[in-house]
């Protein structure tokens, strides 16, 4: 049961952090990291495992947020039911979009997903009667279980990171299974995967829909946490940021996705002290990581391991 160790460690630390920190600001920042992590974990399945680039995931994030936000504020649907609805709606949309789009490859796929993201963004902006347009809308109710309302940061923190942990557990189960192997084989070579009996087209669409649905959950959480949403949160920049998180963290590893979300999600906080120069530092950090650790941050962890652990284990063989 060695493979459960990292996850258990992760859960322990996630549980313990608030006790150590107590400060709502840190907790609040970590809530956003958790929300991003939900998306990046699921996006890493699409990007790092199945090898399909999506520059439109902010759209699913946004559809989740808007569906949940609108249902609860306009039609006073229970937030949990609204969240479930947003998952279903996003899933259906993702299927309809993914079916034709995933036939494209490389830069064409990137453009198509980017374009779809833009279309959704334009819709949020322009369907003013429904979405309140660019100025957004607020007073979205908070999530609650029975009498327990997730109103302060700490409760929401536990909710989000509990979801992240559950997602991680599910995803770790999946990536170490026949389905995970099938996904990775698509990235390796679609031809060879096909020849091994993997229905690549079907897996691509399934994983795309799955990650869209998880992104919708993240969107719903965002809406109920911030209680205010506007289209700019779900624009192309966000899509690119999400992909960047996955790649910077290390796209062939779900832990990399969390790492990327944690780094790029909190980077603006670190960079506050640089004032206006934050944009330069941000760009420079990204460039340096990509130039010197093209495998992402987890590959650095791999290097460290090779240095310290690898030598030990190899010695007897030599």
């Amino acid at each position: 049961m060695k493979k459960h160790v990292p996850l258990a460690l992760f859960v322990v630390i996630v549980m313990g952090l608030p006790v150590l920190l107590k400060n709502p600001y840190y907790i609040g920042a970590l809530v956003f990291v958790g929300i991003y992590s939900l998306i990046t974990i699921s996006l890493s399945l699409v990007l790092g495992y199945a090898g399909q680039i999506s520059l439109g995931h902010a759209a699913f994030y946004g559809i989740g947020a808007y569906t949940s936000g609108l249902l609860t504020t306009r039609w006073h649907v229970s937030p949990w039911f609204a969240l479930a609805c947003s998952m279903v709606i996003t899933g259906i949309l993702a299927y309809a979009i993914g079916k034709p789009v995933l036939k494209l490859r490389g830069h064409y796929l990137a453009m198509a997903t980017l374009g779809l993201g833009e279309i959704v963004y334009i819709f949020f902006n322009s369907a003013v009667d429904l979405t309140a347009g660019p100025s957004g809308f607020g007073q979205i109710p908070r999530l609650a279980i029975g009498g327990l309302v997730f109103k302060d940061d700490i409760r929401f923190y536990y909710l989000v990171w509990f979801t992240v942990a559950v997602l991680l557990a599910l995803v770790l189960n999946i990536i170490n299974s026949r389905i995970g192997r099938a996904l990775r084989s698509i990235h390796g070579s679609e031809t060879a995967a096909n020849a091994m009996g993997v229905n690549t087209a079907s897996y691509k669409i399934q994983i795309f829909v799955f990650s869209a649905v998880i992104s919708a959950v993240a969107g719903g959480y965002y809406a109920h946490f911030v209680t205010f949403i506007s289209p700019t949160t779900f624009d192309a920049n966000t899509s690119i940021l999400l992909v960047t998180m996955v790649i910077v963290g290390g796209m062939s590893n779900v832990w990399g996705a969390v790492l990327g979300a944690a780094l790029l999600g909190t980077l603006p906080e670190y960079l506050r002290r640089f004032g206006d120069y934050d944009i330069l530092v941000y760009g420079a950090i990204m460039m340096v990581i990509m130039m010197f650790a093209p495998g992402g941050l987890v590959s650095l962890a791999g290097l460290v391991k090779q240095k310290f652990v690898g030598n030990l284990s190899r010695e007897p063989a030599a």
């Binding site: 599910l170 995803v171 189960n173 999946i174 299974s177 026949r178 389905i179 192997r181 099938a182 990775r184 084989s185 990235h187 390796g188 070579s189 031809t191 060879a192 995967a193 096909n194 020849a195 091994m196 009996g197 993997v198 229905n199 690549t200 399934q206 799955f210 062939s252």
Partner: protein, 259 residues
């Protein structure tokens, strides 16, 4: 078990496979030989559904498999290896071989994600079978390590094990000995025989004639997409046409160059 009739593949005017007909009988080793560009790999791609044929019919176990998608054909029991060894460096050796079991297993995402007993059990079976195949092909590397570091010969064995893990009825091997040294080639030849003896029909494309002549039950010679000769290895070796294609003709001009 495999029946090919009038198979033709054209690529925008170029005929890569031209009206090819042949038969492969159960539990035999059939080799396809011929010079570069003869259309051998194209033939394999047609048989496995990676390319749609322009004309003709391929029937496998009395079912027409023309136009079926590759993963369906793989499920029916046709597996293959690739000329340049297409194994996945983003997975461990064991996982590569376990992927081969994919088409023989069925657990869905939900039961896997929730680690239902069915899924756990199936996974254990997959692992068992994969380890068995790794042993069967005689691969002595740590199955949990990455295949990226393996020498070429062992990579090929990983690919063999993966192909065998699909429990194929028909195994297509594209140049299994290319890039191997003498000793490795010998091992591969023995392995192919062993596979045949275990009841799997084998088709292979190969340039190393030693291997072909040694292990084949039947040889098909192709050039320019058409069949030149077919028969027992010894017959083929004697075939004048085949010898001419291989060793080439004499260049009349070279002996008396014009001024």
């Amino acid at each position: 078990m495999l029946n090919v009739e009038g198979l033709t593949k054209e690529f925008g005017g170029v005929v890569a496979v031209n009206d090819l007909s042949f038969e492969v009988r159960e539990k035999q080793i059939k080799s396809i030989i011929g010079p570069n560009g003869a259309g051998k790999t194209t033939l394999f791609n047609l048989l496995t559904g990676l390319l749609p044929p322009s004309r003709g019919r391929i029937s496998f176990l009395d079912t027409n498999i023309c136009g079926l998608r590759p993963h369906v054909i793989a499920r029916m029991g046709v597996s293959r290896s690739f000329q340049n060894v297409e194994i996945f460096d983003n997975m461990s050796i064991l996982e590569n071989v376990m992927l081969g079991r994919h088409c023989r297993t069925s657990c869905g995402a939900v039961s896997i994600a929730l680690r239902r007993r069915k899924a756990v059990k199936e996974e254990a079976l997959i692992r068992e079978e994969a380890l068995r195949q790794i042993e069967a092909v005689g691969l002595d590397a740590d199955p949990h390590s990455s295949p990226a570091a393996l020498p070429f010969g062992k990579r090929r064995l990983v690919e063999f094990a993966r192909a065998l893990a699909t429990s194929p009825r028909l195994l297509l091997l594209d140049e299994p000995a290319s890039g191997l040294n003498m000793r490795e080639t010998e091992q591969v030849a023995q392995l192919i025989r062993k596979i045949r003896d275990s009841g799997v029909t084998v088709m292979l494309v190969e340039h190393d004639m030693s291997v072909v002549m040694e292990i084949s039950d039947d040889v098909l010679v192709m050039d320019y997409g058409t069949k030149i000769a077919e028969g027992k290895p010894r017959e083929v070796q004697k075939n004048r046409e085949v010898i001419a294609r291989y060793l080439g003709r004499s260049n009349e001009y070279a002996k008396n160059p014009k001024p």
